[in-house]
């Protein structure tokens, strides 16, 4: 290093500006606002695993697991929900509890609807919950007595009218902190078919329409309330989510508006929870398939 470099380094060390209080305070505030770290990635890993191990899981849930679970709570009484034809019952409950770990998984089943759609949902729910049970026991084995963790799975019938049926499965995983995500299932009762978000629209461009509307709402919310944060280009906190996929979670609210739900951490920090955006029915009316127009009217 030459003399000039040494001179600059010496001066740099002497003159290095201290962090002003305004910046220091901002850093501390940001750190304070961070959610506790937890296995965000876990959820992403679980779902593909489900697809990859279907046959194995079906076998395990039907024959093996009820016998080897530490506690196996037998199927609960039928719990009728709404609607004359379709009802949802808890067919199985997986339960485990010790000082450090809890698991409580209710497995719902759609009954009274002898359709392929209901069969499909029942199978999918069964596979997903089985995967979660397996995951719980695997984590239990890995952490032994060193960690804490819980797994709660609950469900709710969001819609059950003559026209439409929506079942919401909620998964709450808690390790160092919590992670929540949902899976929504829909049956178009008129056609007796499973409906996913992409099925509702006449065009693949539906994603652009929804993304643009959601971004607009995010921006409005962030402008109105400083405590609201989303990972957007606009906020500088991350990249905009670019698409809403054809199987993204949604439901119809009481107004007939389309509600898009994001999982925790998907579009914002953990403090934002699981953000929901109601898309006014007028925004999607033009791109909605004719057979679904009566759902929003």
């Amino acid at each position: 290093m030459n003399d000039f470099d040494k001179y600059i380094k010496r001066k740099a060390a002497e003159e290095q500006p201290d962090i002003p209080d305004s910046v220091k305070n901002r850093i501390e505030q940001t750190l304070e606002d961070l959610p506790e770290k937890e296995p965000v990635i876990k959820q992403i890993h679980i779902l593909p695993r489900v697809a990859a191990s279907v046959a194995c899981f079906v076998f395990i849930i039907l024959f093996l697991l009820p016998n080897v679970s530490v506690t196996y709570a037998q199927a609960l009484e039928q719990i009728p929900v709404i609607g004359d034809i379709v009802r949802v019952v808890t067919i199985r409950n997986y339960f485990y509890s010790d000082d450090r770990h809890q698991m409580n998984i209710d497995v719902p089943q759609i009954e009274g609807e002898n359709s392929e759609a209901a069969d499909y949902i029942n199978k999918d729910v069964s596979e997903l919950t089985t995967a979660l049970v397996n995951q719980f026991y695997k984590d239990l084995e890995t952490t032994h007595n060193n960690g804490y963790g819980s797994m709660q799975v609950d469900y709710e019938t969001i819609t059950n009218t003559d026209r439409w049926f929506t079942l919401k499965l909620s998964v709450l995983e808690t390790a160092a902190s919590s992670n929540t995500y949902y899976k929504f299932y829909h049956i178009d009762k008129k056609q007796g078919k499973i409906v996913k978000l992409g099925d509702l629209f006449t065009t693949d461009d539906f994603s652009d329409v929804l993304v643009s509307e959601i971004k607009k709402q995010m921006k409005e919310q962030m402008e109105k309330d400083e405590s609201i944060l989303y990972w957007t280009n606009e906020s500088g906190l991350g990249e905009d989510f670019a698409t809403v996929s054809a199987d993204h979670n949604f439901y119809w609210n009481d107004n007939g508006d389309l509600v898009i739900i994001f999982d925790k951490y998907e579009v914002g920090p953990g403090v934002m929870g699981t953000p929901e955006f109601a898309i006014d029915k007028d925004v999607i009316r033009d791109i909605l398939k004719p057979e679904f127009k009566d759902v929003i009217s």
Binding site: K9, P17, I19, V23, R26, E36, G236
Partner: protein
């Protein structure tokens, strides 16, 4: 931004897993983060915003950092990228390609108080300010600077060499004094 290909994922160190440890690492690096952000945007308000956003981004992508020994260059790269993005998006902030504010010969003669080195660095245009801050203030190696600023070592060496000449010109009276 692809954090997965950041080059800081070499194995062998501890893995950061909880918030407290993350916060501790941020506090250890905050001065460096501030210097870097300030070198790019040149005002405290924007620097604070960039650091805050970088912390969120880093925390969100913490699982991509496999070795906590690489935390500092990793977080500085996020700060750098965040700052560059902000500048590109926000026309109110001074642009990357601005004309340098190096005093010309005529005005130099009028200067009665000597420039500090930091003021001199501030006179440089980009990317020279940033490489100077990382090299002289943060004592980072050329290869680390290349990783942080998404370029190669040859480019960093050239930038440093030019920056050195510019600084020498600006500070010649002080240096020779």
């Amino acid at each position: 931004m692809d954090y997965k290909s950041d080059g800081f994922t070499d194995r062998g160190g501890m893995i950061l897993t909880d918030k407290d440890a993350f916060c501790e690492h941020i506090r250890l690096c905050e001065k460096s983060m501030y210097s870097l952000a300030l070198s790019i945007v040149r005002n405290d308000s924007d620097a604070g915003e960039i650091i805050s956003e970088s912390i969120y981004r880093a925390y969100k992508n913490l699982d991509t950092l496999k070795n906590e020994n690489s935390f500092k260059p990793w977080i500085l790269r996020i700060v750098h990228n965040t700052a560059v993005e902000m500048i590109r998006k926000n026309s109110k902030i001074i642009s990357m390609g601005e004309t340098p504010d190096i005093p010309d010969d005529s005005s130099e003669n009028d200067i009665t108080t000597r420039l500090t080195v930091f003021e001199a660095v501030n006179c440089l245009k980009q990317p020279y300010r940033t490489v100077v801050v990382l090299f002289y203030y943060e004592n980072l190696s050329v290869s680390k600077i290349a990783q942080i600023t998404n370029t190669n070592m040859g480019a960093v060496k050239k930038q440093l060499s030019r920056a050195r000449n510019m600084l020498r010109e600006i500070l010649k009276e002080d240096f020779n004094a």
